[in-house]
């Protein structure tokens, strides 16, 4: 295995494009090193992008949105007060990944590129309408986070492509987001179900709502019908019931060592209702 | 004479009685006498059993003294963690 500490994404792409064997990009490494250890992947080239200028930066754009560098860790994300105020659901999703130790290293980009349907930070990013900048042998492009996952462990990135930055839209007024997951313990588990809700209100009425579910399908996914169930409502019982039904209807889970399909479907509804209530309270400025 | 209580599985190998009575002053003599009287017991005793003397699970000492006034039970060998 060759290790490359690159100084630019162009260099990273160059090495990746000329590599003949298995290549892995290294940011936090909390997934790659586990796969290495288990013998799941034996890279010939590992390209460390943490020395690229700007990868640790979190910056507010002129439009009020956010750019997050590819190597920003969970700890760094959680320490950014203004970002946490704008997008608490996105941040809490990332902060649920792994232990305190893992938080010192793990990144949004890595969580996304790992391609897990249970990735905790991805539903929040999708619900927020986040995009990513991608660079690769054929040039740079911007993709929606929702377009990245392809199937368990796989993404729609092309060979040699690397995510350089995550972009969050401007929060705007009267918005709120949240993420909840279900795990059997209190910490250290992979999500059995995850649910993010992002919404905006006008007075008491929800004007926009996006719902994303994790671990109930081959990829994390947006559930437009669940969002639609909320729009126009004041989060009354009828809207919540419709949300629950829509969320459960969208689930196509498997039964595995972490939970049964029936359980996942059931709990997806429970989490959707709870997450919507939190997002709504946040939009109203009632809770942090 | 000492009286040795048996678990059900052993009773089948020793003529069906709940207990056997043998002449012995030690656990070793007790085992030997039991095997002499009921050869079917040999593989079980050789494989190892726990001897409970007056309520205490002893650990296979053939030289442990046994007296007529002792309460003696054989139980399946017990291991600890």
């Amino acid at each position: 295995m060759r290790y490359h500490a690159v100084g630019s994404f162009d260099e990273a792409v160059r090495i990746s494009a000329s590599a003949t064997g298995v290549t892995r990009f290294l940011a936090g490494g909390t997934d790659v090193l586990v796969q290495l250890r288990a013998g799941i992947v034996q890279p010939d080239d590992i390209i460390d992008i943490k020395h690229v200028p700007g990868v640790k930066d979190i910056t507010r754009r002129a439009d009020g949105g956010w750019d997050i560098g590819a190597a920003v860790s969970g700890v760094e994300l959680g320490a950014h007060a203004a970002l946490c105020r704008d997008w608490p659901g996105v941040v809490e999703g990332m902060r649920l990944v792994g232990s305190t130790q893992v938080q010192g290293r793990a990144t949004l980009t890595g969580n996304l590129c790992n391609g897990s349907p249970a990735a905790d930070s991805v539903p929040g990013l999708m619900a927020a309408g986040a995009t990513v900048s991608v660079t690769g042998p054929e040039g740079a492009r911007v993709m929606a986070v929702a377009d990245i996952p392809k199937s368990p462990g796989k993404t729609n990135l092309k060979p040699g492509e690397v995510i350089t930055r995550v972009h969050l839209p401007p929060r705007g007024a009267n918005g709120g987001d949240s993420y909840l997951r279900f795990i059997p313990r209190t910490e250290m588990d992979i999500a059995v179900v995850g649910c993010a809700v992002n919404l905006r209100i006008d007075g008491d009425t929800i004007t926009e709502a996006t719902v994303a579910l994790g671990a109930v399908a081959p990829t994390v996914m947006l559930v437009p019908a669940a969002g639609a169930a909320l729009v126009g409502s004041t989060l009354d019982d009828a809207a919540l019931d419709a949300l629950v039904i829509a969320a459960r209807a969208a689930c196509r889970p498997i039964s595995d060592k972490r939970g049964t399909a029936e359980f996942r479907i059931e709990v997806a509804g429970v989490l959707a209702r709870r997450a919507a209530s939190i997002a709504y309270a946040r939009a109203k400025g009632e809770t942090a | 004479m000492i009286k040795v209580h048996l678990w059900s599985g052993l009773r089948r190998l020793a003529g069906g009685a709940e207990a056997v009575t043998v002449q012995a002053a030690t656990v070793g003599q007790m085992f030997d006498a039991m095997i002499a009287a009921h050869p079917g017991l040999e593989p079980v005793i050789k494989a190892g059993v726990s001897v409970v003397i007056d309520g205490e699970v002893t650990a296979g000492g053939r030289n442990l003294a046994v007296k007529p006034e002792n309460e003696i039970y054989l139980i399946q060998r017990v291991k600890g963690g």
Binding site: R185, M188 | W7, P43, A59, K79, G81
Partner: protein, 748 residues
């Protein structure tokens, strides 16, 4: 019984000094299994079967051997043939012969100049398998159509006509079981299941072995018992025990799982083949979970008869347990006598079957068999108490075994402390803590025999009056401290003046491992005997100095003194003064003691747990936990509490989330801590403890042993609390949220 009263007369026993190995363990200096290195050392890696059951048709190591840095490969062909019984079991489990018997079964091993090269080489060893049908579930393994794992393993006890996978049958009881049920007002029965769980020690198995062509070797290893390692390695390799010197490292947890060998002979065999170079072999976590010894999985029928007033008239159990693909590994013989050990019941019937399955060779796990048995019996008792509107603790007290009770397994109990333990539980404030919505309280009792076992200790008086104690029981949870306390108490010297060393196999007679809750009981008792023997010699030295009869000398407060006026008037000779002169008064003074100590005292515990269940997700949260247990006497109460808390935590994990999950292909699906879910810090509340002290008359300081009983009650206590909180009565562990939620919904 007030504790202070019992403590009266003890200067050190019952205090909480710092443990002697504490400084090493908080600074990273303490050396555990994988920390040991040797010059010119090689590193090993093991090739393991990816199939639950497969014939090994061919092993080709040529590509591995061609790799630079590879020094040796071993397969079963490098081990002697003709072993029988448990020795054959050990060898077969160390490295598969014709057939791989479970997912993770070792097939070959390789030694190389670095760990990375060894791992690369292991991947290059090509094994050709013929996959065979497999079975992992205990009930399925007994069914007529189950694949036969190894024919001819059943012993004399198995009734005619049973499947060859059934290898042991046990039955015992007393009274008239049918009359007992006829006398009851309520008879209930249920079937209960527990999955296999792993001890989950955080330190993976590790050893460093060296073996020369002359058959002489050394081993450094993390183990609960290094004489067992020596005997087992010698048997598996066909070498002489005395020619293998085994030194225990510090041990990062064992809980019974490190009382046997798993891969140690591989390191020695590789060393022998690599010209005697030392070989280090360290397991990964996945190897630990796939290929070391978890406990059994169990399927259990229970039937109990009870009168309206709570009197138990009859109890009947039928247990099936699998302990892997090897005879004698399930704790069926321990589970059965534990089932009703807490109670005085006139009519009892126990039956049990041991069954082979394509799973790893089970090892002991903390009170082997008792937690499963208690889960079944204490759950059904709880259901019956609810049905009859009886207080579950009162019912347990009403039926509690006491001194003179004929135990469920036959013999009459000596002085035991269950009644005192139940009374202390009832008096605890946790019993009156208010419960909110979706919260419930569960109680359960549990039992363990405790154990003496082969023990050898030596004690040396130093030239300055300090004392060294050599013991053969590795210190897992503070036994150096408890043994030092008892020795210092006996000798009348300061705790700090005693150093307890865990020594290698060349230094003492044979010792059984630290198992059966025996280190403080057995090594402690032997150390006290050794101290008494040294005291006699020191009194004799003083007598010679004073020119009086040795019988006229007594030992008080760390010094020899004339016993009474008639003995003469001499100033006391302290242990330091005697030690300083001993070279000129007859030579070194040491005491030693070798025995299989008698006087083992059983111990009982009662647990009370409050749980909240989320009715929408089935998730259980432990709110409050209480352990009450009879210690006999707590030598170092902080480490006694630690044993209670640790046992409870393991039991909570077993109850809620821990399980071996096998796929349809017979492969273990969760060989990582990520999915083998042991409790993390945020899963647990503080764990309250009450140490009951009903001294064991068989030990000089009243010790019963405290390591194991604490894991017996939690499984049932948690299940009973979940039932109380949610209405969901689950008879299959673990109480994972999908199961609890399904049960809640089924009950609605």
């Amino acid at each position: 019984m007030p504790k202070d009263e019992l403590k009266a007369g003890f200067r050190l026993v019952g205090t909480r000094p710092n443990r002697p190995d504490g400084l090493d363990k908080v600074t990273g200096r303490a050396r555990y299994g994988a920390d040991i290195v040797a010059a010119n050392m090689l590193h090993a890696a093991v090739v393991r079967s990816p199939y639950a059951h497969a014939r090994i048709k061919k092993i080709d190591a040529s590509r591995a051997l061609a790799l630079e840095g590879v020094k040796a490969v071993v397969t079963r062909a490098d081990f002697p043939t003709g072993l029988t019984g448990e020795d054959w079991n050990l060898q077969e489990n160390t490295i598969a012969g014709d057939t791989a018997l479970y997912d993770g079964h070792a097939v070959a091993a390789v030694a190389a100049t670095s760990a990375l090269v060894a791992q690369d080489a292991a991947r290059l060893i090509e094994v050709e398998y013929e996959v065979l049908p497999h079975v992992t579930d205990v009930d399925a393994a007994m069914a007529p159509d189950a694949p036969v794992i190894r024919a001819g393993n059943a012993d004399h006890s198995v009734p005619e006509g049973m499947h060859p996978n059934v290898v042991r049958y046990i039955d015992f009881g007393h009274g008239d079981i049918e009359a007992g049920f006829a006398a009851a007002d309520l008879v209930r029965e249920g079937t209960y299941k527990t999955e296999a769980t792993h001890q989950g020690y955080i330190e993976p198995h590790a050893c460093l072995g060296q073996l020369g062509a002359d058959g002489r070797g050394e081993m450094w290893v993390c183990t609960q018992g290094h004489w067992y390692i020596r005997r087992m390695c010698a048997a598996v390799l066909g070498i002489e025990a005395a020619n293998l010197r085994v030194t225990p490292s510090e041990i990062g947890g064992g809980f019974g799982g490190k009382t046997t060998i798993f891969m140690e002979p591989l390191a020695l065999a590789l060393s022998r083949k690599a010209g005697g170079r030392p070989v280090k072999l360290v397991m990964s976590r996945a190897e630990v979970l796939r290929a070391t010894g978890p406990t059994a999985s169990a399927s259990m029928d229970v039937k109990i008869g009870m009168k309206k007033d709570g009197t138990i008239t009859a109890g009947q159990v039928n247990f099936r347990m699998q302990g892997g693909a090897f005879f004698g590994m399930s704790p069926i013989a321990e589970a059965l006598p534990c089932a009703f050990a807490c109670y005085d019941i006139p009519n009892l019937m126990h039956e049990g079957y041991e069954v082979l399955a394509n799973r790893p060779k089970a090892a002991a796990y903390r009170a082997p068999g008792s937690p499963m048995a208690a889960f079944a019996v204490e759950s059904l008792l709880d259901e019956m108490c609810r049905e009859l509107s009886l207080d579950p603790l009162q019912v347990r007290l009403k039926n509690a075994a006491k001194e003179g009770t004929k135990s469920s397994y036959g013999p009459t109990y000596n002085r035991i402390g269950l009644v005192e333990t139940l009374e202390a539980t009832m008096a605890h404030p946790n019993l009156s803590a208010p419960l909110g919505p979706n919260q419930g309280r569960g109680v359960a009792a549990g039992f363990w025999f405790n154990h003496g076992g082969e023990t050898s200790v030596s004690l040396q008086i130093g030239e300055d009056g300090t004392v060294g104690v050599s013991v053969g029981t590795p210190d897992i949870g503070g036994s150096r401290a408890s043994i030092a306390l008892m020795v210092a108490e006996t000798l009348g010297i300061e705790y700090e003046a005693v150093r307890v060393n865990v020594v290698e196999t060349g230094s003492l007679g044979v010792n059984e491992p630290t198992h059966g809750s025996r280190a403080t009981f057995a090594s402690g008792k032997a150390a006290v005997e050794a101290a008494e023997s040294a005291i006699k010699q020191m009194c004799a030295r003083a007598a010679a100095e004073w020119g009086i009869d040795p019988e006229a000398v007594e030992w008080v407060d760390g010094a020899a003194r004339p016993a009474g006026e008639n003995a003469g008037k001499f100033p006391p000779l302290t242990i330091g003064e005697i030690g300083a002169k001993m070279g000129g008064t007859g030579g070194p003074i040491s005491g030693h003691h070798e025995s299989v100590p008698g006087g083992v005292g059983a111990s009982f515990g009662v647990h009370v747990v409050d749980v909240e269940v989320d009715p929408e997700t089935g998730k259980s949260t432990v709110l409050r936990y209480l352990v009450v247990q009879d210690a006999g006497r707590a030598i170092h109460p902080a480490y006694v509490e630690g044993q209670y808390q640790g046992g409870a935590a393991q039991g909570i994990g077993w109850a809620l989330n821990e399980e071996y999950i096998y796929g349809a292909d017979g492969r273990l699906q969760n060989p990582m801590f990520l999915d083998y879910r042991i409790p993390v810090a945020s899963d647990l509340p503080m764990i309250d403890t009450v140490i009951v002290e009903v001294p064991n008359p068989g030990h000089p300081y009243g010790v019963r042993g405290v390591g194991e009983t604490g894991i017996a009650p939690p499984l049932a206590a948690v299940a009973n609390a979940v039932a109380a909180a949610s209405g969901a009565r689950l008879r299959t562990l673990p109480l994972s949220p999908p199961k609890v939620l399904a049960a809640i919904k089924a009950g609605q």
